[in-house]
Symmetry: D2
């Protein structure tokens, strides 16, 4: 039920193609699931950077005339739901500035854990901030005049920021891709007719029929320009900490990330779930679409037939008028209607990717029971979520996470299901091919791979653990 | 691949509920798949009819303030893609007029085969027409002054029109539902907290949690007012001719129409297809979402595992900028991306509901082959479409229907698949519970259940068989 | 202060020019002051009529692509604030229908006094009405099947309707202009490069650089087609009753109507006013722009200098946010700010075209006093308005007309001015060149040139004299 | 004919009123003539600054909900057409940033002649720039960490910038107004119910019924906060150089600036023009509205009657479709139609405020001749414009200024008028009450009151004198 989470960010970059802006539009379109709040593209013709950004979906932000105006051979693009900063146009990315070396644009996916410390330090040295996003901190660092060469400034900047970050930069004649040493967030490299492509997920390469070359390595900087591509590795070797939740929910099933097919990982999660929590039943049904792959895996492993138990209404958009005087159940049915004919009198296993607050889940399960299901067995393809994420996912606070506040049996009772099973942490990690230690599981285990110092800690504790994850005001509070 | 067809019309009506307009909005929303072109609601407070219509999706046509303004206890609503008339606001329904008995509004699903004859006759008697839709013909007939009572006028009107029609009328204090004697198009009756509901499909009742009472019978008129509901049966008994294509494609899988669950009928179509056209393969994949149920049926019958072979991008909307300089393949990938990891090296059975022109199908199949599928076996859950429909479906002309112009083997070669199988007419009809003779199969068999006289025939032949199904101009041509 | 009145309608027509739609747009644009509520154009290419209408200003209703689509050599256009019917798109004109003779479109300026009688009669014979405008009544009459030839139907229709009407019709290959026998509303004929032009005012001819040929005569029908122009005169000779208020307020000062320059008539009104109500003062200032010409006339006649006492803010548009918490004075200043430097310590004569309710006038005069004027002498270039208009002007009811409810001295006190003078009826009529008897002065004198029968009278009395000029509901009430 | 110039900027500020944002909206509305390109307001509640900006007219940028959201007791606002930077949302003002002291917003009217020097210097020290406007330079200077107190930073910033500037700042609890030592641009102080108001012109005070207190003095800084108002005078005494063109064209006639009523100054310009260039004629007509006051002055001085020769169409907005296939004359008539009845056979004196390129003027004069004027005598109420402005007015380049490229006789021939007269420099200056030396007349005389150093000079020469006043690209060019 992770559609309760707001997605966070998608990145795209291309160098060496005459249709750079149009291809960025298509690339962003296939990364739309990573950020529905704003979208933007910056293009360069070798001399001048031109930007177009807006609030809303990629499709709504760009008109044909916008793309036609954006002439150039290299571009970066961004779709956003940011976990820092607020929902305003001024925080939309890419961010583009002029500085002593000319112009530069940046787009960022992830979350810097030392952003506030750096910001305070920069302000003390005279910097002014027009946005509340991490990208502006990065550009201020990059503009520091003490470096003779751009590359020095870049390396120093990248090594001063801490946390989860995949980044694309665009200069007048260079495209740069960066991934943090832990490799929290994905970033891949592709080739299209000789042009280099960077994208958060391989589904963006598929869209363009670009060839998938490889992932950008954790801690790697790739610099793409007239002379081709070269890499910097400014960090000491570190164990990766890929975000396992990308496989569980965020990434598109047709993408390959961290070396694994997302769809196949999810199918394996479903199979493992069937092994860990078997039950005698008539049907396995997914909560579409996030539970599709795991439900299929559960069905294949258990031999219990897969069935489409929910009809999903694709027409629900942003302006749908919620029936205010009606019950919550009512609202659930707007998006998903149970297929009564298939469910009546049946013992049903319902598979979803995760349970966050539990309320939406409860409502959907009730609609299945109302449709005549005799038994309901809830199966969840990730372990209980119990800890906040500081690396870029906007989980609710502890108070709101049902797994923090309820025991397993209490959750089962709350959801009013016959049985309830979450996959185990070990079981989840068995679904990926790579080393288990290479994944961040902090939201399940509380083991944060990247330590944050006492000051950051204080900020984080205040903001995240206190139950005030979302400050009401979108503006920065006054300083003393 | 019937998403190449424009859907045609959804009807809704309610009597006796204080939130009549809001419930109509929700009802129309769940009938959105039956017409994406325009939407409208007329509500009555017992004295005055108020209308709101617009071009576009239900969600776009109505703002909260529109619904708030529409006070009343009874309403009718309509979503439209009309097979007659053109795509303009003036043709949006419901149509509302003043006449000698007060005000009346009407919404219509289907196609009158004698509309032009009636229109010519009415014009000869002095009628003026502001739209090109059948509904205006119906209202002119209804306003004929020779009848003393409204019911006389209603019965006479309904018996003068010929063809496929499900109709809802709204008067100051009456809701009326009508279904043609052949029962071509569905129309069902529900109850919600004592209020009567009429809807094209039961999924609209589910949305409101209204109880499904029964279908309106072919040839039945139901009149719902202060004193409850009563029925008229003005027609002699006729054999029904339900549109089998409602089950194949139009209706939502979670609906029950003509006495059968759409999802279960489609699953049976898939099972029958597996029996008629078995093949050795590794996977069964649907073209989402229209092929989902049949593909599942094929998998269950054949024992070959079901798989999600396509990832569907739900963000493609009306304003998406098509990449003009790119190939047709490219455009296909925008909506459906094959999941390469699942398909590579596999022998794949692809199931879809129908093949109309064949071009979209070909492109999608190519993307599966490009994703690495070793063999492709195309299976279609309806027989080849070879004849135009005069009862409300906007099929292309014979020239454009691939099954009219190509042999089975030629189609297979065109699609570049290893094998190709359509379900048989008999096989298709075996999937429904009712009498086979109660279904119209004209588009497959050429057997038109309702004869149309020589004049209508001439018009139809000119318009439909000549290959000019869609006159370029949206306006009525000049009369001699 | 007649800007309190909603303007009513502007007509345009053209035959024989390849840019018919674009020229109609420009023509309507220069007739915008006659109707700001909706605008529309119908064009013909000789075969097909195409329509585009919308709510709002001409400039807002038409996009370049709309005009480009409207190919044809003849067209009619309309700007509207109707005095009958309500403010809805379905009531926007031109109205276009199909009938036994093909297609026809109509646009109408004026008010039929027997519209309701005709409507009831037509409904009794089976007609249905989709709008509440007089034009639909006209088209129903025109479609009567008893006439062999169109011209017969036209003449019969025109002679059956009573009241004030200037009308343009468009058929597949004919443009028709009609003016009622009294000639209440203006309609003129022009020539542009061999194409005939019809327009409510000559300013529309000026805009196109068309040559002014003559006014359409009262009671004349002109039929313009391939063979040129010809006239019908179906009415017996009648004395004209031109609306004097067109000169006072409605028409644009750069137009020539009823044989007189509007600007020069207004200047003469100002001169006459100076003769009738002289006063010793320092300055004459107009209420811009409706009082400009008369104020200039007053200044010229009296020798007292003309001055710009108000600065008019041209930016006030439809979406300006009124300062709700502020006083009424405040709102007045948004549009007109007094030029204090010119007014301070001065004895000021303020000239306006008319006083309707008196409230806006009072507020504006107060702002002049606040700006430092020592004395204020109000002069009005038409007599007190005391009777409703049934020929097309939407005056308030008697209750709201300050001249109906107050004596001259009471009005002076209400306005808080030192002296107040209205021009006399005789004086007003002395400003036009034609015979005084040829003008309708009903709103001042109560002498209605066109008798309306007892039934109409009843309706009118109920609606107009009862103080319910504007029924709250926009919809037609239920019939018994 | 100065409506060929884009206006430049209007400033507003208020402190101590509960409706600060709404009053700013109204204030900006009355300053709309100073900038139609973008509008913005920043409000403070003592803790948090909130901003709303947008492209377009004040009325279009703000919806009621925007103003309701902007709670606070102090605010600044801005309307813009900037002479630096380009026409993009990111350059709209006020500009708001966070820095070491909290938050601050700024809005600016004028042009800094050392902006590029300062920008280069700041970039060399590591600053990044997100806009191309002078205001961002000002904020970077203000954020310099070397100052202990805000006031020190403020004074140092203001003394480092050179050129023409009126500025308003908003801090969490302070409103600040600044005017450059030369007093190029106006800025006045008012009082409304105890709240302080700052505005570019007194017409904004009139709108609010605020009392005009005084002008901010050249070189004065006023700081308004909880403890009231206090002034700083950080500059050595300088001779003022008020922009005379504010009186000629920019300011609203109902404003008082630089100690004079704009309307009365313009009237005096007209009187002086009549003395310098008398001619025997029948009528004096203005080009509305910019020539109104001067034409009246000419009429009063000469005794030749004033007349409204042009009818102005107020409906011409931003989306009006220009008739592309028609002549330039055609386009002129859309906005101004000559009143033929008043002009026919007359010898006409036409008065306008200035001639810039001469082309629009020529077209308008032609329309008067076509309307039948026998003689045309053009009179201009400012001297020939021959030099660029570096203090905030966006004149065309020398190449485009007709007075630079043509002799007086050549201009007369170009305009096809019988006589032509410009007011003399001396004559123009005689219309203001203050010392003549206190006005900047650089655009007429070439005498620039504020020297700009060699570097600035070089930039200016390149940009302004080369004929490339408006670089095609809106973006900052690449640095070497």
């Amino acid at each position: 039920m992770s559609d309760e989470l707001k997605e966070y960010c998608g990145l795209f970059g291309i160098y060496g193609h005459p249709d750079a802006a149009q291809l960025s539009y298509l690339g962003l379109f296939s990364l739309q699931h990573r950020g529905e709040e704003s979208a933007g593209i910056v293009v360069t013709d070798g001399q001048i950077l031109s930007k177009h950004i807006g609030m809303g979906l990629v499709e709504d932000v760009f008109k044909p005339s916008d793309l036609e105006r954006m002439k150039g051979y290299a571009a970066i693009g961004h779709t956003r739901y940011s976990t820092t900063g607020s929902s305003m146009l001024r925080n939309a990315q890419p961010l583009q500035v002029d500085y002593s070396r000319g112009s530069i644009a940046v787009a960022h996916n992830g979350n810097l854990i030392n952003a506030h410390l750096l910001r305070d330090e920069l302000e003390a040295h005279g910097s002014i901030f027009q946005t509340t996003i991490d990208s502006e901190v990065i550009l201020h660092l990059l503009a520091n005049p003490r470096y003779a060469r751009f590359e020095e400034a870049l390396v120093d900047t990248i090594t001063r920021i801490k946390g989860a970050f995949s980044i694309v930069f665009l200069r007048e004649d260079e495209l740069i891709g960066v991934r943090d040493p832990n490799g929290f967030r994905p970033l891949c490299l592709g080739l299209l007719d000789g042009a280099y492509v960077l994208a958060s997920e391989t589904c963006a390469l598929d869209m363009l029929k670009a060839e998938f070359v490889r992932e950008i390595e954790p801690g790697e900087i790739v610099i793409i320009g007239k002379k081709g591509i070269r890499s910097l590795h400014p960090f000491p070797p570190t164990n990766p900490s890929h975000c396992i939740f990308e496989h569980v929910y965020f990434a598109r099933p047709d993408s390959v990330i961290f070396g694994d097919s997302v769809h196949l990982v999810r199918q394996k999660l479903g199979r493992q779930l069937a092994r860990e929590h078997p039950v005698d039943a008539d049907l396995v049904i997914p909560v579409p679409d996030s539970g599709n792959s795991a439900a299929l895996g559960y069905s294949l492993e258990s031999g219990i037939p897969f069935e489409f138990g929910f009809m999903r209404n694709h027409y629900v958009g942003r302006t749908f008028i919620q029936p205010t005087q009606q019950s919550r159940e009512f609202q659930a049915r707007v998006k998903f209607n149970p297929v009564s004919a298939a469910l009546k009198g049946k013992r049903v296993i319902v598979v979803d990717d995760s349970i966050v607050r539990g309320t939406t889940c409860k409502t959907r399960l009730k609609s299945i029971r109302d449709a005549g299901a005799k038994e309901i067995h809830m199966r969840v393809s990730c372990p209980p979520i119990m800890y906040p994420c500081f690396y870029g996912i906007d989980f609710p606070t502890k108070k709101e996470l049902i797994s923090c506040t309820h025991t397993l049996e209490e959750i089962r009772q709350f959801l009013e299901v016959d049985t309830l099973g979450f996959i185990s942490l070990e079981g989840m990690l068995s679904a990926v091919n790579g080393k288990k230690a290479n994944y961040c599981t902090a939201c399940y285990s509380g083991k944060y791979p990247l330590p944050f110092g006492p000051e950051a800690n204080k900020y984080i504790l205040e903001r995240k653990f206190s139950g005030e994850a979302h400050p009401v005001s979108a503006e920065t509070p006054k300083k003393p």
